[in-house]
Amino acid sequence: MKFNTIIIGGGLSGLTAGITLAEQGQRVAILATGQSRLHFTSGSLELLGYNPDGSVVTAPLQECESLPASHPYQVIGTQALRQFAPHAQELLAAAGIKVRGNAEANHYRISPLGIPKPAWLTLDDYITADSQLSFPFRRVLLVSIAGYIDFPIALLRHGLQQCGLECNVAEVRTPAIENLRTSQTEMRATNIARILSEQAAIDQLSVEINRAISGEEAILIPAVIGIADDNNLKYLRRMVTRPLFCVSTLPPAVTGVRLQTRLRKRFLNLGGTFMLGSTVRKANFSADRIASVTASNLPDQKLSADNFILATGSFMGNGLVATQDSIIEPIMNLDVDATQGRDSWTSPRLNDPQPYMEFGVHTDSSLHPAINGHIVPNLWAIGAVLSGHNPISLADSTGVDMITALFAANDIISHNI
């Protein structure tokens, strides 16, 4: 199998790069072990939420200038950030994902515990607050679904009250959802969403919500609607008597699955090949360039391409592997930025920035990784596998995913013209 570009990893960064390349007419294959980190997302994307000193970032495009030189934004140049941030939004829109927000100024998303966190883009149907942390309403009805325990309602309510909202709670139950309650484990957001993919189930839900409404100005529901698209969510919004917004739940995240589904569909519609269940185990080199890769489930198939993109993620995506005493990039043994000695990987206090979060593949300014100091010229590393960023202390992960993906894809296109 011969492609222009093979992307290893099918999460946000891999799909972003794949879509961008396929849009330019490239023959692209994405090889993914399994489903991605998008399944744990919040309904928002973050470019840069906090400065290294912990203070909240209000203007990401400006404040990214003060990031250390090792941060991917600095590695590719903050100009690239300015250039590609709007592209990210367009790419999402083309995939049928409507978002609010921009890279000039952060807004706030609301976490499942009711804690506000700075965000870049938020799905249109989610609750947000502006940069002053003010909401367009004050009295809200917080809807919980009976028996659904991945929506910590008592804690969320407290959090929303801390944000200045008056918050009434209504527990609803509908016949369609009731059946799922007999499961001891599977009353998860995504399974509720499957039930609510039928319009009749939405009708039942809207009746219950409207019954619970009294003087509130808005309705907040757990994000359990819309696994493939947001049609039924739109329908519910029409059926209820107040503006309705979603609050993210504990994983698995319905909106994350929707993001993944829509981006993948967009990629397939552009002619891309998406191979799920294919773990890349090995890269075959010809001189200093990668000629092909081999996947676990196709051991006798050489998957060749002119360009390769590594979008395998961090430790939890197996893009990095920690052995008892070292940090390794497992496919090609690429050079990684990591500290020596297990003691130094972590910080004793959980909430302090954890050094291991910033470990990753070391690249040059074009995102080319190296092996023993020798650059691999037809390989680009993007997203969480890169070193120098921190999804928690900097709140930059989805931004790094998309911006580095767009950067690499454009670099590939410009070299292949």
Partner: protein
Amino acid sequence: MSKATHNFFISSISDNNFEQCLKCSICTVYCPVSAVEPLFPGPKQAGPDGERYRLKNPRFTDDSLKLCLNCKRCEVACPHDVRIGDIIQRARLQNSKHKPGIRARLLASTDLVGKIATRLTPAFNTILSLKTTKEYKHRMLGIDRHFAFPTYARVTFEKWFEKNAAKKQSGFSQQVAYFHGCHVNYNDTAPGIAFVNVMNKLGFGVTLINDEKCCGNPFMANGMPQKALKLAFHNLNQLRLTSQQVPIVLTTSSTCTFTIRDEYNFVLGLDNHDVRDKISLATRFIYKKIEDGELILPPVKPDFKLRIAYHSACHMEKLGWSFYSSSLLRMIPGVQLIMLDSLCCGMAGTYGFKTENYRRSLKIGEPLFQAIREAEADVVVTDCEMCKQQIEAATGARVLHPIEVLAMALDD
């Protein structure tokens, strides 16, 4: 260029494989059963989570494991290569205390029932379609009355081959062996006949496996590991013997292929490594030959036009081979290919036959059926014979095997 070779993936093939589970619950999102059946605790719970308790005490094996379709979609979705489906199937086979009843034996014994039935066709088909028979099966055997049990062929594929094809095969310089599977032999010989015709047109003679028996998958699915083991031993030996003469063994059934390649090892614990890579689906073989420039697709009929909706069966997804079948179809001039979202049809071998599963089975398949209705294709194409059965019954669509499409296109 290269540093010392290393293999960090070694742990993924250890007995401790389920330890890699990060409890991320992604598998639960893609389980076709737990979405419609609250009694199934889902792949995470039935698999890695339950396994920890079963290691303490096999009493923690419960009947709900039976609700698993063995579609392996959990494994395909898992970001950490945990063999969730295998864990569930192994637990079910190792700890099942139920003695399989008549129905399980009947459904599993595709070979035996097939042998009797084909001798008695068409009487058997008539009996199968009788209302009273359906009622009997439903009440006494628990085979759902709504279900159109596969009809049986008048002449088995093996008989057809012996009579119509066997003689001329030695005239080809290149040879492939063919593991046809029970369904082709007893129920639907068309893909088998198409396979022989296509291979001959491509310049390959076809040899059958000496004394081929059922791959054993239905016995695993119906809780009879000993029977499955016996068949697996037999087939592995026969395949070894055959491959000494003809090193390439091709198939047209994705499930038989998957069973021999993966389930023999992962579920039954047999060493099949010497046989595994010799077995391939015909579509994959042909695609690779063309890709490698060793084969040129002969010209197709000039007026050939077909709008195809391709359904990637569960086990094709697990094999990762849908690419080959769909790419081969794309190579055929006149084919317009629509890739359906890969979703389970709900049949899962014999699962959908059972009265207690029938409704659930259709419910599982509904999103796929909906997509098929919307696709407005001339035919649905799939590599799995049981998906074909279910899709035809549920949607009325005509369903073909990719090799049948190729045979149609090449027909002169």
